[in-house]
């Protein structure tokens, strides 16, 4: 028995080592960092314990810009991508021919490198002295004046960021919703059909309640994911996000840690914990709301 017990822990040992060093310890440590004032990474000393790091971060205009950007991104992309994914999944579910092909195509962005494809988006949207860029050409067909979506006005940059974010997150959502739709018992639809229910009513009264747990799961993970947005922005606007006013909270954390403005793990930790608190709060609200609306 003693040997058996030891053996169990032996099998777990590698996992415990990795998780302990790179997850549990850092988790504790990040809280300590965030309260150590004036921490110097070179000498590894600090002058005290307190909430200065938090107040610094909360007053930092770069952080406030990042906060604003992140919130706009979340508010726009989460509902939009979920609705769009739902519409596409419903469409996919209603056809037989070519369904596999469409599904495969829609999934492609999931397996591509966000940074690499982001470059393509940048080229499509960017206006340079040599070319207006393809998107502007297309907009020109509808009589709109060209805009530099990458280096131009704030709304244009935000639009591209949202568009690209939706493009990136949609495959996952479509896939999950398609399989949720497919797993609804066909008998419910048949029963409604025999009773002469209209397509729209079937969707609203049967399909939607049936897949509501999945929809809420997607909304919750969507919020979490969108709050952590970073590499999409880097792909479009380059690594100096502060300069282009397009930084996100996660971007701020990394900038504080590393690079030209880096070397401040304390500020980074405080910002990361603020982010975590926001995400946790919103997730809890989401869970409460979903409890009310998911019926079974």
């Amino acid at each position: 028995m003693e040997r058996e017990k030891l053996k169990g822990w032996l099998y777990l040992l590698p996992a415990i080592l990795f998780l302990g060093i790179f997850m549990v310890y850092p988790l504790v440590d990040v809280f300590i960092y965030s309260f150590e004032e004036g921490y110097n990474s070179a000498s590894q000393t600090s002058w005290g314990i307190g909430t200065y790091n938090y107040s610094y971060v909360l007053r930092d205009p770069y952080f406030l810009q990042a906060l604003k950007n992140t919130f706009i991104l979340v508010i726009i992309t989460v509902p939009l991508s979920t609705c769009l994914a739902l519409a596409i999944a419903v469409g996919l579910n209603s056809i037989k021919k070519l369904r596999d092909l469409y599904q495969t195509i829609y999934f492609l962005p999931y397996v591509t490198n966000t940074l690499a494809v982001g470059l393509v988006f940048m080229i499509l949207f960017k206006q340079t002295p040599y070319s207006d860029g393809l998107v502007n050409v297309v907009l020109g067909w509808f009589g709109m004046t060209p805009v530099d979506f990458i280096g131009g006005p704030y709304w244009a940059k935000m639009f591209v960021l949202c568009f690209y974010t939706i493009w990136v997150v949609l495959p996952f959502k479509i896939l999950i919703l398609t399989s949720a739709l497919a797993s609804v018992n066909q008998d419910y639809y048949n029963a409604a059909k025999v009773d002469g229910t209209s397509k729209f009513r079937i969707f609203r009264k049967i399909t939607l309640p049936m897949i509501s747990p999945t929809v809420f799961y997607l909304i919750i993970t969507g919020f979490i994911g969108a709050f952590k947005a970073y590499s999409d922005a880097v792909a479009l606007f380059g690594t100096d996000l502060n300069a282009s006013e397009m930084n996100t909270i996660v971007g701020y954390v990394y900038d504080m840690l590393y690079g030209n403005s880096g070397g401040y793990p304390s500020y980074a930790s405080a910002a990361a914990i603020i982010l975590f608190t926001i995400v946790l709060t919103i997730t809890c609200i989401n869970l409460l709301v979903s409890k009310k609306h998911v019926h079974y």
């Binding site: 053996k7 099998y11 996992a15 440590d29 195509i105 397996v111 040599y130 996660v250």
Partner: protein, 291 residues
């Protein structure tokens, strides 16, 4: 007979409606399909346009009549694309292999072995699933820096190994295998290790392959961690490599060469996806998220 006509009319409108609905659905689906595919088309198209041709097109053309592979040559010669590529392959293979080993052992312990404190340990493992990477990455960065492991493969790989979710996924799968198999093996004098590798793993191969593929995708696309711990081009992966190319690579305007690099980076995963399409999609729908 009035009723008869009624039915006929209903039947006709129903048919027309169905056709109209089908046309609309297919149009919309195709539209989004186009939105998804177009960036891929554009990157391939741009990558085979010559530098001068690309720059002379104020209004970009949707095709090219004189395709060239010169950009690909450039991508491999002007910037160390081949080096980024090799680095990424090494990083991906080693990380995935280590992850599999750690995950399999831990999942086996949780699923099959009995020891004191197992339930507590498992609860702690599960709660770790909720910890966002962004929180722990700060200390990891400091740790790796202090250990002098910046710009090493060890520094890249070690913090990327663990995935609590995959341990959970595999444990669930292991538990589905009936106990009798384990006892039968025990009676035959098989050691636990042998049972794990000769019986359990072959049976659970589909799940193992799934998590391996998901990890490969995650590794291939990982950007944040490599960017933090490497500033020496010798250790760049494709993600921060491409970012480097963009900012300091071919001179800012050589977009065709940049696109060639993008194509080269994207192709391996797309091929992997097309081969393991069903497995990847099933794996992702079981709870994967974008890495």
């Amino acid at each position: 007979m009035e009723k008869y006509n009624d039915f006929e009319k209903i039947e006709k409108t129903a048919k027309v409606r169905k056709k109209v609905k089908n046309v609309i659905v297919y149009t919309l689906l195709s539209f989004w399909g186009l939105m998804v595919l177009f960036p891929f088309y554009w990157m391939i198209l741009t990558s085979i346009k010559s530098y001068s041709a690309y720059n002379s097109e104020y209004i970009p053309k949707f095709f090219t009549l004189s395709p060239t592979l010169q950009n690909y040559v450039e991508a491999f010669t002007t910037v160390p694309l081949a080096r980024y590529f090799t680095n990424t392959i090494i990083f991906t293979v080693v990380t995935t292999a280590l992850m599999l080993l750690v995950t399999i052992l831990a999942a086996f312990a949780f699923a099959r072995l009995n020891f004191k404190g197992k339930n507590l340990a498992f609860t702690i493992f599960l709660s770790l699933m909720m910890i966002p990477n962004e929180l722990v990455i700060i200390t990891n960065y400091v740790t790796i820096t202090n250990l002098d492991m910046r710009n090493t493969f060890a520094g890249l790989i070690l913090p990327s190994v663990t995935s609590v979710f995959y341990i959970y996924l595999l444990k669930e799968n292991f538990e589905q295998i009936p106990d009798q198999l384990y006892y039968a093996a025990k009676v035959d004098g098989t050691s636990d290790m042998k049972y794990l590798f000769k019986v359990l793993l072959p049976i659970c191969k589909p799940t193992v392959i799934t998590i391996a593929i998901l990890k490969v995708i995650e590794c291939w696309n990982s950007y944040v961690w490599p960017r933090l711990v490497t500033d020496d081009e010798l250790y760049f992966l494709v993600s921060n490599g491409i970012q480097e190319i963009r900012e300091n690579g071919f001179g800012r305007e050589n977009i065709p060469a940049m696109m060639a690099a993008v194509v080269v980076i994207s192709v391996p995963l797309i091929i992997l996806f097309l081969i393991f399409r069903k497995k990847i999609m099933a794996g992702v729908s079981r709870g994967g998220t974008k890495g």
